[in-house]
Amino acid sequence: MQPFDYYKPKTFEEAFDYLTLPGKTVFPLAGATDFIPSYRDGVWQADAVCDIKALPGVRDLRETPEGLWVGACVLMSELARSPLVRAHWEVLAQGAEVVGSEQVRNRATIGGNMCTASPCADTPPPLYVLDAVVVLKSKAGERRVPVTEFFTFVRKTVVQKGELVTGVIIPKPPAGTVGEYHKLSRRQGCDLSLVSVAVLAAPRNGGYDWRIALGAVAPTPIRVPDAEAILSKGWDAASIDEAAKAAEKTAKPITDVRSSDVYRYEMVRNLTRRAVRSVAEKLKK
């Protein structure tokens, strides 16, 4: 691996100085599980890395009046096993527990999963249906971006040079909310998503507000408003079929080394139907 420098600031002020070193490309480093292979293969360039794991608040996972605070450096394995997350934000735990392998989940962070911005990342679709808000910090101050506006393209986000994602705020869903994250991959363990679907049904005005997000079938994760509208009126078998078809219409998958677009279109429909049915089953209980 080509040499690079390493900094580990303890304050944000120090971090922003490193990130804006004149003439240098300084890469923010969280879990390093994407960085090391991508840097070695020349996909990413850097003169130095700025390890953000010692910054205040970035390791915190706690409930606040605004909802769940997930610091950027909270691990996938922490999200997957947290009783708090399991109790109220189950769909996020489901996404986190299918990222990579146990070894990867013990290093990989939610901030890294978001900032790498791979279309097949497993935590963004759950964050989409949970209406999460991304918190960013820079020398200029703090700003908040709805997660649905965070990703701009394949591996592109709104994060500017000199700016860091410090964490995510996830509103607490009303009691009785249920969700499901379904992922299809070539093999069950330790593989990237071909198609993924997050479904959430939250009680509202005596009915349910349905939300559906798809992963790996467009340059960024996408919500499926047409399917959501259909289900919010009722979720009998015919409506579920309609919603699944709407999801297929919204998806814009590509053909790549993992599968063809034709296969992905079909699987969007099947996986959406399956995930919605699982949520509907949970609602009956």
Binding site: M1, Q2, P3, F4, D5, Y6, K8, L29, A32, T33, I36, P37, R40, A48, V49, D51, K53, S77, G100, S101, E102, Q103, V104, N106, R107, Q188, G189, C190
Partner: protein, 156 residues
């Protein structure tokens, strides 16, 4: 850039000067003389380099050595005590869960990481915990059997 780091490796405190871009795997093998973590894919796919870092299984090829400053690292070298194999090692021997042996240190450390946090896992939990460890001899059934054997005895 050089960094002086101090870490506890297999119960012993070690201080080493490491380069920013060197991985924990490289430093364990080349500076600390610990060669059970194997150089496999160096991409976090194969698990041959698995060690426990602060009690959790990690791919040492995906950790910068400098990130391990202050950490407690355990490798398979630390498992046998006074000539007695660790129950996991013993079970791997008894179940013939070793063929070429290249994946074995990583398999055992992943299994230990699982049993330390979940002493009585189900078969599915064992498979999930070992999903990041590839055995190219494909001896998975015996490996899972060996781990389940220890899990049932509950003496890991």
């Amino acid at each position: 850039m050089l960094h002086e780091i101090t870490l506890t490796v297999n119960g012993e405190q070690r201080t080493v000067a490491v380069k920013s871009h060197h991985t924990l795997l490289k430093v364990l093998r080349e500076q600390l003389g610990i060669t059970s973590p194997k150089i496999g894919c160096e991409n976090g796919e194969c698990g041959a380099c698995t060690v426990l870092m602060n009690g959790k299984a990690v791919n040492s090829c995906l950790v910068l050595a400098v990130e391990a400053d202050g950490a407690v690292i355990e490798t398979v070298e630390n498992l046998s005590k006074e000539g007695e194999l660790h129950p996991l090692q013993q079970a791997f021997v008894e179940h013939n869960a070793i063929q070429c042996g290249f994946c074995t240190p990583g398999m055992i450390m992943s299994a230990k990481g699982l049993l330390d946090r979940n002493p009585h896992p189900t078969v599915d939990e064992v498979k999930e915990a070992l999903a990041g460890n590839l055995c190219r001899c494909t001896g998975y059934i015996r490996i899972v059997d060996a781990v389940m054997d220890v899990a049932k005895k509950g003496d890991a």
